[in-house]
């Protein structure tokens, strides 16, 4: 049973799955957290009328949002191509 178990599993692919899942989770989480933090900070700075810093954080929030959108599109591509 144990021999059949070892033989039936593609351990190389399995290792790639584990690494890919962990890396993708880290990147997705960072992207979402970046959107939350930069978006919140931008709103706070705009409310405090600190416009230059507010504008920079707005740009950062936009870039984070683009990265997040990229992840979502990548996820959809992965699903459609399997």
């Amino acid at each position: 049973m144990s021999v059949a178990f070892v033989a039936a599993v593609d351990w190389g692919a399995l290792g790639e799955v584990v690494v890919a899942a962990l890396v993708a989770t880290v990147l997705f989480t960072v992207a979402v957290c970046a959107v939350i933090v930069t978006g919140t900070r931008a709103a706070e700075l705009h409310r405090a009328h600190r416009e230059p810093a507010g504008a920079i954080y707005t740009v950062l929030a936009g870039l984070s949002l683009l990265a997040l959108a990229g992840f979502i599109v990548l996820g959809l591509v992965v699903m459609t191509s399997k």
């Binding site: 692919a13 996820g75 459609t80």
Partner: protein, 367 residues
């Protein structure tokens, strides 16, 4: 006429299974969002139902795997398919009754393998396929998702720790709409197709489709997508309660981490052709997000019950399917046996539902 009647019975049973699949597995997608109040219960199940429906149209690769990967297609008859589906439906209903998030996919695969084993012997079962597509994913998916959820939670807490909590909580709630959407879509893609695979096998067994030119008819895709979406919309509140509240009480960051890790793990595994169970993955992620904050936050007794249900899913569905097959054979190879089983199942289900008290959680969620 007898063959066509049997085909209708098998297709109807497959769609019933698909409904229970959506009903049973809704919790995987919506429980964390409801628990953290990122979405209202009704919005969450509607959102999940729509994305489950859409997800079922995305790919047909899993349908082909179910139809061809675990048993010898030549050995499959309509009565075997029927018995396999009844075995899976029975297990789904039992685990739903006890509020346990077990894998509908493993129930279906167990039912199919059990019915084929009882009917055609061990030679008709592809045991390598069972190991690769059932056993290994069952072991890998919860561990991987728990690990990923723990890492995601550590990152989320680390990045947001120095900011005021209220906007961060709102941000994670919004993040859950994204991660929950990806999870619902991947669930529809994976699980909707499994029923499509069974329905296509029935059409092949009845001679409507040639086994040499495997394809899934459009009406099969549309009906399977509709059934799983309808089941999802109906919502299995008992399992939602277990996933959202009974394993551990989640905060917004934990809910986000669990859903993100679950969705990303499923997608990464799909990309490499490893079919992970959505139930095992998201359950592992929920446990991981609790344990990463504090080990004692997880109710390990509840987690243990879930683990026992996972271990029992495949053999229990297989045995039930085998018994159902043996029973239908008493009436011959035609439609009479499956029809008798359907009548008995409907009568039994009606009896249970009439006697069942409405759970407080369901009433609260509906209100």
């Amino acid at each position: 006429v007898n063959g066509d009647l049997l085909l209708v019975v098998v297709i109807a049973t497959a769609l019933t299974f698909d409904f229970t699949n959506g009903f049973h597995d809704t919790a995987n997608v919506v429980a964390t969002s409801i628990s953290t109040r990122a979405m209202t219960p009704r919005f969450a199940v509607t959102y999940a139902a729509i994305l489950n429906f859409a997800g079922a149209f995305i790919s047909l690769q899993v349908a082909a795997t179910v139809a061809q990967g675990l048993v010898e297609s030549d050995a499959v008859t309509m009565n075997i398919l029927f018995a396999g589906l009844i075995g899976a439906i029975a297990w789904n209903l039992v685990t739903w009754y006890y509020g346990l998030p077990s894998s509908s996919s493993h129930a279906l695969l167990g039912g199919m393998v059990g019915a084929v084993f009882f009917a055609a012997g061990s030679g008709a079962v592809k045991f390598d396929g069972v190991i690769e597509k059932v056993l290994v994913p069952a072991l890998i998916s919860p561990v991987l998702a728990a690990l990923a959820a723990g890492v995601a939670l550590a990152i989320a807490y680390g990045i947001t720790a120095r900011h005021s909590p209220s906007p961060m909580r709102r941000g994670f709630k919004a993040g859950q709409i994204v991660s929950g959407g990806l999870l619902a879509l991947s669930h529809g893609t994976n699980d909707g197709q499994k029923t499509m695979g069974v329905m296509t096998l029935a059409l092949i067994a009845n001679g409507n489709i040639s086994a040499d030119h495997f394809h899934v008819p459009t009406w099969v895709v549309v009906s399977a997508a509709s059934a799983i979406a309808l089941g999802t919309y109906t919502g299995g509140w008992r399992i939602i309660n277990t996933m959202g509240n009974r394993i551990h009480k989640m905060d917004e960051a934990q809910g986000f981490a669990a859903q993100s890790a679950g969705a990303v793990s499923i997608l990464a595994a799909s990309h490499y052709g490893f079919p992970l169970s959505t139930t095992h993955t998201i359950s592992g992620a929920v446990i991981g997000s609790g344990a990463a904050k504090r080990l004692s936050a997880v109710r390990w007794g509840v987690a243990g019950n879930i683990l026992v249900a996972w271990i029992l899913t495949f053999p229990a569905s297989a045995c039930t399917a085998g018994l159902v097959y043996a029973f239908t054979r008493i009436f011959g190879t035609g439609a009479a046996g499956p029809l008798v089983v359907c009548v008995l199942c409907l009568a039994g289900l009606a009896f249970v539902l009439i006697r069942r008290p409405v759970p407080a959680t369901a009433a609260g969620a509906e209100a």
